[in-house]
């Protein structure tokens, strides 16, 4: 098992977390603050280019040059361990670090680009960033601290039937570095167990993609959603109520498009979609609107909260109605 750090961490901002499910970031911070993880967020950090990379719009050299700049920001601030909230950031950054370490010609080209941009100070030296020892998904950081997480649980979520969707770009790209299984992935199942929830474990289609397929969702929508629908159908057959995610793009595909697919197929799935960080934060007693950010979800999470016989105090509920109203206006 690889070494997983709990300090000197740059929490790497993700474009889709930023504007689709910002509650993933606030939930991650909420958990990190309670399990003694030392981390830092840097406003200068640029996006990894992931979506553009897999739209085939970005070229590998440009993606790698921007990664070198972000690696330098991490090192310069004393936070050379990077933790990502998005599986595509994970794959992209690891690949860029490998190229920079292994390919001298590419490294020289990147350094020339940085020099030409008056960023000599950001030049990359071999092994400045170790793709295995320095780049992690936040779920791995949680996993390393799962005992601490267990000790902080305040809300009992064990009454729900829960399944997991493990992001392809975490499990299948750099698969030698993946923890808790590649073909039978169990990383998020283990984290659910840490907050007292036994998931359904393996199910047919467990390792299948969300169907977003980057360009496919936009240029090949019927095919893209057919893949998503198949997985939703299997989850329904398994009577799943909550699907846990570890990538904002997967979460978008399921949460944003589930009602659309329900209408097309004239069926109901009624599955809630939560990121693992939102789920853990909920178990730790975090506020659904001020920390989890459920107001940005398409499939409403309110029915789930109602079912929880736990207390979200009356003050908060008033606040919630206000937020809901402002969103509807």
């Amino acid at each position: 098992m690889k070494f997983i750090p709990d300090k000197d961490i740059l929490l790497f901002k993700s474009c889709l977390v930023n504007v689709e499910y910002p509650g993933i970031e606030s939930s991650t911070s909420y958990i990190f603050d309670r399990i003694d993880v030392e981390y830092y967020i840097d406003e200068r950090q640029s996006c990894c280019t992931g979506l553009g990379h897999y739209y085939d719009l970005f070229d590998q050299l440009s993606t790698t040059a921007l990664a070198a700049r972000n690696f330098q920001i991490a090192a310069e601030t004393g936070h050379k361990n990077i933790a990502v909230m998005c599986a595509t950031c994970y794959a992209i950054l690891k690949k860029s670090a490998k190229i920079l370490n292994q390919n001298e010609e590419a490294r020289n080209k990147v350094n020339k680009i940085l020099d030409d941009s008056n960023l000599e100070k950001m030049e990359y030296n071999t092994n400045d960033m170790d793709p295995v020892k320095n780049i992690f998904h936040v779920a791995e950081i949680f996993f390393n601290k799962r005992d601490k997480i267990s000790s902080l649980v305040k809300v009992d979520l064990s009454g729900f039937r829960v399944a997991t969707h493990h992001a392809c770009h975490y499990c299948k790209v750099h698969y030698n570095d993946t923890i808790e299984g590649v073909r039978d992935p169990n990383l998020i199942d283990s984290l659910a167990a840490a907050v007292g929830v036994e998931t359904i474990g393996w199910y047919d289609h467990k390792r299948v993609t969300c169907g977003a397929g980057f360009r496919q969702r936009f240029t090949n929508k019927e095919v893209s959603l057919a893949i998503t629908a198949e997985k939703l159908q299997v989850l329904k057959e398994n009577e799943v109520e909550i699907l846990l995610h570890m990538c904002p793009n997967c979460q978008m595909q399921f949460d944003r498009y589930q009602p659309y697919i329900e209408k097309k197929l004239e069926t109901e799935f009624n599955i809630f979609h939560l990121n693992i960080s939102q789920f853990i934060a909920l178990a730790l007693g975090a506020d659904p609107y001020k920390v989890l950010g459920i107001q940005t979800h398409t499939v409403p999470i309110e029915p789930l909260l109602k079912r929880l016989k736990q207390q979200f105090n009356i003050e908060d509920q008033k606040e919630n109605v206000k937020v809901e109203k402002s969103l509807k206006n």
């Binding site: 504007v19 553009g52 739209y55 107001q295």
Partner: protein, 196 residues
């Protein structure tokens, strides 16, 4: 005895693929045994005519028409083929390299021109996003709440204790300068020229 003579350049395509910056040093394309595991687990193959096993065969047989094959654009980049290959090959990575070859030739540009807005927003804000070309469709599919989310995102972030997601000006300038010197700016211009 009849012998088959390999021409000197009969492996040109596979050599070009392996030379590509995207190609991992341990990419096992020569070890492919054509078992078809990649195709059997491929979501693209389950829904379309895309066939990663056949794509790899054509690369190994130096069949350059594979670059122009429409079906290569049906890969989902899910890497399930990569995770399951018994020979250490990576059809997903090779697919991405072939797509870049198609873009370099010119034909592939039509396939990505609708994503060009992503590049503009990246240079403007230092972050990517769903290309605005597709925004209207998403609002139609997801509902008007999706538009409200976009309009209120900074307020929602503030409620969650998060700052602005847009980079400070100096950082945006650095990103733009890197993308200028890396050739991305010109690449984007070339792609946008293809807009009908």
């Amino acid at each position: 005895m009849k012998t088959i003579k390999l021409q000197d350049n009969s492996l040109k395509l596979v050599k070009d693929v392996l030379k590509d910056l995207k190609a991992s040093p341990d990419l096992g394309i020569y070890k492919c045994v054509q078992c078809g595991m990649c195709t059997s687990v491929c979501p693209g193959a389950s829904q379309t005519e895309y066939d990663p096993r056949d794509m790899i065969r054509r690369v190994l047989e130096d069949d350059e028409t594979v670059i122009d094959d429409e079906d290569i654009w049906n890969c989902f980049s899910c890497y399930t083929c990569n995770s399951i290959c018994p020979s250490g090959n990576n059809a997903s990575e090779i697919n991405q390299i072939l797509r870049q070859m198609s873009i370099d030739k010119g034909e592939g540009i039509q396939k990505i021109v609708s994503f060009a807005a992503y590049g503009d927003s990246f240079m403007e804000l230092g972050v990517g996003s769903i290309p605005n070309t597709f925004f209207d469709v998403m609002v139609k599919d997801v509902g008007p709440e999706y538009m409200n989310l976009k309009l209120n995102i900074e307020d929602i972030r503030a409620d969650l204790g998060l700052g602005s997601y847009i980079l400070p000006e100096e950082a945006i300038n650095e990103v733009e300068s890197i993308l200028d010197n890396s050739g991305f700016k010109n690449r984007l211009k070339r792609i946008k020229r293809c807009k009908k």
